[in-house]
């Protein structure tokens, strides 16, 4: 007969993981089961191919970018702890936790959620969304449904609206400012049912 504590024991540094990510032990176990289900060959880590097997993700226009967010540059595998740390970005913001000024900002803070989304645009990680990068994202999301000219005009207008320092790119601060009224907590959070 299995037991939850034995599952938790299989995970290295699980206490640290729970501290850092804020997931409860129940959620960690849920995610561990999911991780094992995705890791069909039981290698103990996931590669992009395993994510690609999720049918609904395969039809998501930016599915490949989301998968890419799980892998550090140059890495071809992601282990369970890093898998959970990335998913921790989508934990609902803890409104009642007192902000301890000495502890590092929690992974699921509003700012970190925005950074995650920013990363999806800023693939070369230079801190700015260039016109080219914006065009690439638009092409991913719209596919063959629009012409090159339409894409360019959309990209130009978007940069015009958001780019405050006129450097023809959108920095993280400009990105944040442009979206300050959006309810990030609701739109970039996933709630566990139990």
């Amino acid at each position: 007969m299995g037991s939850t504590s034995s599952t938790l024991l299989k995970i290295p540094n699980v206490e640290e993981l729970m501290q850092e990510t804020g997931f409860s032990s129940a959620h960690i176990i849920r995610l561990y089961d999911r991780f094992k289900a995705l890791d069909k060959e039981g290698r103990g880590h996931l590669c992009p191919h395993d994510f690609g097997a999720i049918k609904e993700l395969a039809m998501n226009p930016i599915g490949d970018r989301i998968i890419g967010a799980f892998f550090s540059p140059g890495q071809e595998t992601v282990d369970f702890n890093n898998f959970v740390k990335i998913l921790a970005h989508f934990r609902p913001v803890d409104k009642d936790r007192p902000r301890d000024p000495n502890s590092p900002e929690p992974i699921n803070s509003r700012s970190n959620k925005l950074k995650f989304a920013f990363q999806l645009y800023d693939q070369d990680k230079d801190g700015k969304i260039s016109r080219d990068e914006l065009l690439k994202v638009l092409r991913d999301m719209l596919g063959m449904q629009v012409t090159e000219e339409q894409l360019e005009s959309i990209a130009d207008r978007t940069i015009q609206e958001a780019d405050l320092d006129r450097d023809d790119a959108i920095s993280f601060e400009e990105f944040r400012k442009s979206l300050e009224k959006v309810n990030i907590d609701h739109k970039m959070s996933i709630r566990f049912l139990r």
Partner: protein, 449 residues
């Protein structure tokens, strides 16, 4: 030494006669001696007791996660347009700028992450999780050690299932299948006549009844007045090869399938001697027109038994119904839909063909508590004027899903093995672009020339 063999032989004879006398013969006549009913009642009581003990145990340790059959994360049910609309509401929109906003990516991002944590399709190809443990090791997920009594009952259960029930069931299955082969071969020797058909039906039904006893199957048939008639096509949701035994206990069907080698091949060849079934060679299966023609010819002959088809094409885990392949619905004829729902408390009937081969699957079936299921016969349906096969297939699928309490999905069961087609992604892109460029086009036509 001689003495030991004699004793063993006598014991074996006694065993065999008990089995035949108390199980096989009543089964053949469709008479129930009530053993299975009593067994199920006792089982239900024990499982209820076990559930209460586990719940009590869980209350004492509130950190245990409880299973939820509805999935593990909350999902927003809004459509793409609604969700993105909500995202943009707070963002001052400049319509002349083309309807794209930076926050649109949040919608796709969240959907993607939701699917990484839990998706609709992969979970259908693994066994359903139970809300409360049914004392089988195989369904034990996160159920902790609770008490000595529970462990003892579990141990007793293991003993009963493996040492008493399993040999009994294997014996019954062996008897049933040999009876099928011998019986149908004998009937096949007779000239074609009404008597032959009647005998053939008898042989088939008695064999399936014995096999059903071999699985301790309790089947409840509802709406028997809608039972499939000759010249029709019976269509059902597919969970396991046992579905055939379940349905054939209450009626005779013509089976459809590929020709196999080995034991299956022997069974197939002998079955077809007593009454016509439709067995295809592997090469014939690829030619859709040839397949359709053979099926059409079969149902055109009103003396032949109704065909049994599983349009999903693969085994699904009995929580949902996946896309019905339109091939069976293009043949014409009356469709008799049937919904089959297994009760997972007593044994998980789903055949996960990626994980288990046929033999290990059957052994698992024979070491479960029992197979309890409900079969609903739905009123016959036919292709309506102006309806195409796909629409008809979906209509039948919804009726079956509705009756059986299953989720109606439009995903193709074949995705178990294949990759998602590009067209799915294109659809998403189309939907999104209509929100963005739709207004742009309008602009272009209305603006100054």
């Amino acid at each position: 030494m001689e003495g030991v063999w004699d004793v063993a032989f006598v014991l074996f004879q006694v065993w065999l006669s008990i089995v035949v006398g108390l199980i096989v013969l009543p089964a053949m006549f469709g008479v129930s001696l009530g053993f299975t009913d009593i067994y199920i009642k006792v089982l239900v009581k024990i499982l209820e007791w076990a559930t209460l003990r586990i719940q009590r145990g869980q209350k004492e340790q509130p950190t245990l996660p409880s299973q939820s059959a509805n999935g593990i994360i909350e999902k927003d049910d809004g459509s793409m347009a609604e969700e993105i609309g909500e995202l943009r509401r707070s963002h001052p929109k400049n319509l002349a700028g083309g309807d794209f906003t930076l926050c649109d990516v949040f919608y796709f991002c969240k959907k993607g992450i939701e699917n990484i944590v839990e998706d609709q399709v992969t979970q259908r190809f693994t066994s359903e999780e139970l809300a409360s443990w049914n004392l089988l090791t195989r369904t034990n997920n996160n159920f902790r050690y609770i008490s000595v009594r529970l462990t003892i009952i579990w141990g007793l259960g293991v003993f009963i299932r493996y040492c008493i029930l399993m040999p009994l069931r294997i014996t019954l299955a062996a008897i049933g299948l040999s009876w099928l082969v011998i019986g149908t071969t004998l009937v096949g020797l007779l000239p074609n006549s009404n008597a032959k058909n009647w005998l053939s039906d008898l042989v088939h039904i008695t064999c399936y009844r014995i096999c059903a006893r071999g699985l301790s199957a309790t089947i409840r048939y509802h709406n028997k007045e809608n039972r499939p008639k000759k010249g029709g096509i019976c269509v059902a949701n597919h969970t396991s090869p046992i579905d055939i035994v379940i349905l054939a206990n209450d009626g005779c069907y013509a089976m459809v399938g590929q020709v196999h080698g080995g034991l299956m091949g022997v069974i197939q060849r002998s079955m077809v001697r007593s009454c016509p079934h439709v067995w295809f060679e592997r090469s014939e299966m690829k030619d859709r027109h040839a397949v359709a023609k053979r099926l059409k010819d079969h149902i055109a002959d009103k003396t032949k038994l109704p065909i049994l088809i599983f349009p999903e094409g693969t085994c699904i885990n009995n929580t949902s119904v996946m896309m019905f392949k339109k091939g069976s619905f293009e043949i014409g004829g009356t469709i008799y839909p049937v919904a089959i729902k297994y009760d997972p408390q007593f044994g998980d009937a789903f055949w996960n063909s990626a994980k288990y081969n046929m033999v290990s699957y059957l052994l698992r079936m024979m070491t479960s508590w029992a197979i309890v299921c409900n079969v609903w016969y739905l009123p016959p349906m036919t292709l309506q004027d102006g309806e195409d096969a796909v629409h008809f297939a979906n209509r039948v699928k919804s009726a079956i899903a509705n009756q059986g309490g299953l989720v109606d999905l439009s995903w193709d069961g074949g995705l178990k093995r294949e990759k998602v087609k590009e067209s799915y992604k294109e659809e998403q892109q189309k939907m999104y672009s209509s929100m963005i460029v739709g207004s742009d086009c309008h602009e272009a036509s209305v603006g100054p020339a």
